[in-house]
Symmetry: C2
Subunit: 203 residues, 2 copies
């Protein structure tokens, strides 16, 4: 048996074992239910992953609701794009940018609470298959919103509705009730090498 | 001074310091250039973040090329959705699903190389502002593609073109030449709780 045949056969045997293992796990996981997904950590990709899930849901014919907390001083590429589909995506952006730009806690709290009312409206509508609550974790971290009321509302939503929540510093209470939680960790970042925030990659 | 005024004033002072710090960092980062972004790790959100960047780029009027390595047995929501915009997004899916389903190393290698030819074509076209090479890391990990040739091609692309590369197990050589690298780490996963892979969240 020559060397490359050997590699190919060992590859096949390994892949057969892997397939058997994965098939067994898939058979055991049979529940269909709306899930809560949290993307947190200091790395990139928390919001963009949420927007990737938005188009995944749209591809399956779902209706989607988006609420952006905190962000909003500058309109983003994803907002411009998704506003092309008003029958499929309801997009709500909380005004006035990051909290270190506004420096006004009372006004930020008010805006966050208005944004949460929009989220509540989406959570009362079972026709909405997926809701993205972008940067909600920041609003919770600064206590613009109370984590216990937020969780109570989340748990009362329609059973098949998925929710994606993003932002660094997800509170422990939220992680405890979430189904899937990912921590995005920085390995390296272009910004540190002097590259500015560019259209199409950062906003 | 009452308690809430005090909290609000301390918040404002903290945010002023934060804004000064961030503004200084932003002023120092002034380069505009195409960047290489790598999403790796065992957690969720690597591909979906890539697709979020696709719509971000589309919102800025960029053209986008997508090549999906490895995946492809089952069409995904993001593919269905993005195929609605053939003038804006070129979508190429390498056939036949995951390597543990095909169990044939030679055929997988051939398919991966065909998919790489598609990527090379995108990298010769400066009109394409962003390229998503989804699950490329898997094709590198199994050595369906040679990491050094892949890197040579990446470094010769048009200077303003952005590339997003996803998949667990990104090789060290690729991390070394990338601009922004994020590791998606599992904190918890719905699958472990017996919830199946569902339309709109997992595919």
């Amino acid at each position: 048996m020559d060397h490359s045949t050997d590699i190919n056969q060992r590859h096949q045997a390994r892949m057969e074992r892997k397939k058997a293992f994965i098939d067994k796990k898939i058979a055991a996981a049979d529940k269909e239910i709306g899930i809560i997904i949290v993307n947190t950590g200091n790395g990139k990709g928390k919001s963009s992953s949420g927007f990737g899930m938005v188009i995944r849901a749209l591809g399956h014919g779902m209706k989607v609701g988006v609420v952006q907390f905190i962000k909003g001083a500058m309109s983003t590429g994803e907002e411009t794009f998704l506003r092309r589909f008003p029958d499929e995506v309801s997009f709500h952006v909380m005004g006035e940018g990051y909290t270190w730009d506004t420096q006004d806690r009372e006004r930020d709290t008010e805006k966050a609470q208005l944004a949460w009312q929009q989220a509540q409206e989406f959570m009362r509508d079972p026709a909405i298959g997926l809701i993205l609550l972008d940067e909600l974790n920041i609003a919770l971290k600064y206590r613009y919103l109370d984590v216990h009321s937020v969780i109570a509302d989340l748990l009362e939503r329609p059973p098949m509705q998925h929710v994606v929540i993003t932002g660094r510093g997800a509170p422990a209470e939220l992680i405890a009730i979430a189904d899937t939680v990912t921590e995005m960790a920085v390995v390296k970042h272009a910004f540190a090498a002097g590259i500015t925030a560019q259209a199409g990659t950062e906003w």
